[in-house]
Symmetry: C2
Subunit: 225 residues, 2 copies
């Protein structure tokens, strides 16, 4: 089945102590987003790549690609006001209508094994969502009190979330709900059952300056490869 | 109120790809456990320090302290078979019977602000447990299916967990239960109510080689101080 990766980099990064959105910050000398794109390209050179960027950064990205000699072929679409809108815009640009991965642009440390596992399981089951176990004790807070929770069945959800195209397309025909935090939530609302697969713990989302340092040291040491 | 820190380093580290228990591995040239002890010592030089070590490593630790010129005064007690036994042994060695912090030896990145907050809140409320919010989407798995969970009220629990001495003492008079994952669970079983306080996200538990690299880069960049 043909494969597409939608890489969502539409955010403008209010949490970083930095003016530049975090997907453009340098990780080991190269913008984070280029690392992320490269993960998918090295996994499969025939993959269709669609990158959603904040509209004001289109030109900036073009210049950045020239500056870094970045030649991996990809389509660029405009990010929307919400992640939901961004994915919806990106879906409209998909040419291949086989399997579609949706991945956060600020997760440059996804392993090739996880990308492969997600596509393989989605081919068979329709939807594959990578996750990792919770390694700390877990509690649930309710006002002044809090209760312990058995962490064993809990999973922290990552990306790439991979879907058969028709499932994702159908799910995104529905209305936006503010409780959506990822694509799994969107397809589930549309009535589809998801399958969880094992992710890699290094596949962090870069949202703070500390995350960028962490990503750099993991990258340098080849931890996620 | 007088203060004690019990630093639990009784584990023998089966998860690290390394023979040496992780509390002894070098972080920026100094064993992890020395960093952890130093966090508490620099917070309050009059604090009573009790370190629980695996019995076979007592001599090794002594040599390590000599080698690194580590002169912070501390008592050493033997770790037990479980964390519960280790804390119980350590409690028996407490001289000050004021406030007692129990902290993981492999969490060298606890901030001074968090130590201070935990002691202050425990002085007032009896028990203070540091925690951080869940930043990823959360699901709960049940066999083949899984359900989305609103992550908002969930908290990941850290250490130092700080208690008035008499509360911790009373809680540890009870029997061991396999579901205990931390001291909060032990005191709660004894009927005490805990108070959650804000932790620092960099306060990671070093359990894998990647964690050690992460701790090193955070430490070098003074992220948690």
């Amino acid at each position: 089945m043909k494969k597409t990766a939608i890489i969502v980099a539409g955010g403008s990064g209010t949490r970083m102590k930095h003016e530049l959105p975090k997907q453009f910050l340098l990780l080991y000398g190269v913008p984070v987003l280029m690392h992320t794109i490269t993960c998918f390209y090295t996994y499969d050179r025939n993959l269709e790549l669609i990158i959603a960027l904040p509209k004001p950064y289109r030109e900036y990205w073009k210049d950045l690609c020239a500056e870094h000699g970045f030649e991996i072929n990809h389509a660029v679409v405009d990010g929307g006001l919400t992640r939901f809108d961004t994915v919806k815009n990106s879906l409209a640009a998909v040419q291949y209508k086989g399997l579609v991965a949706v991945h956060d642009g600020v997760r440059p440390l996804v392993s090739r094994a996880v990308i492969d596992r997600c596509f393989a399981v989605a081919a068979e089951k329709g939807i594959a969502i990578p996750c990792i176990p919770v390694s700390e004790s877990l509690r649930v807070q309710n006002g002044d009190r809090s209760d312990p929770v058995d962490r064993t069945p809990y999973r922290l959800i990552q990306t790439p979330q991979v879907f058969r195209w028709e499932i994702l397309q159908k799910a995104y025909e529905g209305e936006y709900l503010p409780e959506f935090t990822d694509d799994a939530g969107v397809v589930e609302r549309a009535g589809f059952a998801i399958t969880l697969v094992e992710g890699n713990p290094e596949n962090i989302k870069i949202t703070t300056p500390a995350d960028l340092l962490i990503a750099e040291v993991l990258f340098k040491n080849n931890i996620s490869r």
